[in-house]
């Protein structure tokens, strides 16, 4: 038996699925071949060491640490500091929007910066209206596109199929071309 075959048997031995016959072969070969025997003993020793590495006890406070970490993590959602930050942020955003509307949008539209709450509401309402119009226009456009697609399919099925076939044929040709090139490369190598 060759040494590289024996190597496979050695691996099987450590996998734990070696048969009796193979085990015999391995041992017999090892009696004759000192190299293989040495390698086998080396690995056997090493794996024995790994298997018998002692189990060590984790530190006593580990469980408590884990449980506190989990408990703290649960309270993250009701952190007082975060609530305060949230409120400050919200107030800031409202003030910012108010100032933008009163001192940028109003003057641009020629409205005197007479800032009553109602006028701001009106502007917001107008903006919402614009957004709604835009949304409707977009939906209509999409609908038209879909209808267009249906008509295409209904009336020009044959053209679409021809078009697709052309693509398929072109792809196959390209594929063949590349393959032939590859073959030529191999010819060069030989």
């Amino acid at each position: 038996m060759q040494c590289n075959q024996i190597n496979n048997l050695i691996m099987k031995y450590f996998d734990g699925n070696i048969s009796e016959i193979e085990r015999e072969q391995l041992l017999r070969h090892n009696q004759k071949c000192t190299d293989c025997a040495e390698e086998f003993e080396l690995l056997k020793d090493a794996i024995y060491e790994i298997e018998t590495l002692p189990e060590i006890d984790p530190p006593l406070e580990l469980t408590a640490n884990i449980m506190t970490a989990i408990a703290e993590q649960k309270h993250v959602h009701v952190n007082a500091r975060q609530i305060i930050c949230g409120i400050i942020g919200f107030v800031g955003l409202v003030l910012f929007t108010y100032n933008i509307i009163a001192y940028v949008i109003f003057p641009m539209m020629g409205i005197a910066p007479l800032v009553s709450f109602q006028s701001i509401l009106e502007v917001i309402y107008m903006l919402l209206g614009r957004a709604k119009d835009g949304f409707i226009a977009m939906s209509l456009y999409l609908g038209k596109l879909l209808v267009f697609r249906d008509i295409l399919f209904r009336d020009h099925t044959i053209f679409i199929f021809l078009w697709l076939t052309m693509f398929a044929v072109a792809g196959l040709l390209l594929y063949r071309l590349i393959n032939m090139k590859n073959k030529n490369n191999f010819v060069d190598l030989k």
Partner: protein, 190 residues
């Protein structure tokens, strides 16, 4: 105390955080020892154990009862270890020695030889690329089956077998190198 894993998990999902402590108690040794052997030092192993249990707690609802809980816990642990090993690439941390002692009533001399051997093996393991290290430790130190290895690593049977093969091969090469080097040192001192 004798509730099954799945019962405890259901309690935890139902909002009973304290129930999780039982799971931690049950599996901390497994998780900690695996992390310890992967990382090679106690501090990192502790951090990883803590992190792993937090992750386990947060994804309890995604636990699939079809697999053993230990397998799932090991999967999370080994993934964390791999991440950490990748992060610290290049820098090798020292291996703790004081926790590897296994007293079987050996004489001091035998113990010394055993320790030296262990040191060599541990060094060799630490030189392995992290993927291979994981396989050696899970299979040989934790005595897992192929099935469990497949579930933990998410690889096919062929890949698992191949990796183990390669890992052992590399281990053997490293150990042989170390042997040669120590011989050289001996010759020089002579």
């Amino acid at each position: 105390m004798d509730a099954s894993d799945i019962e405890i998990i259901n309690q935890c999902i139902g909002g009973n955080v304290e129930a999780f402590e039982q799971l931690v108690e049950r599996y901390k040794k497994l998780v900690f020892n695996t992390a310890y052997r992967m990382m090679g030092n106690r501090e990192e192993a502790e951090d990883i154990t803590q992190e792993a249990f937090i992750r386990i707690y947060n994804s309890l609802s995604r636990y699939n009862p079809q697999f053993k809980f230990s397998t799932w816990a090991l999967k999370i642990t080994s993934n964390l270890c791999l991440d950490n090993l990748r992060k610290r690439k290049g820098e090798t941390l020292p291996i703790d020695e004081q926790f590897n002692i296994c007293d079987d009533g050996l004489t001091p001399e035998e113990e010394y030889i055993r320790k030296e051997k262990q040191k060599l093996v541990l060094e060799a393991i630490n030189r392995l690329p992290e993927k291979y290290k994981e396989f050696i430790i899970l299979f040989h130190h934790r005595n897992l089956s192929y099935q469990e290895m497949m579930e933990i690593t998410g690889e096919s049977l062929t890949i698992v077998k191949n990796r183990l093969y390669r890992a052992r091969q590399m281990l053997k090469e490293y150990l042989m190198e170390a042997d040669k080097e120590s011989e050289k040192v001996c010759n020089v001192t002579k």
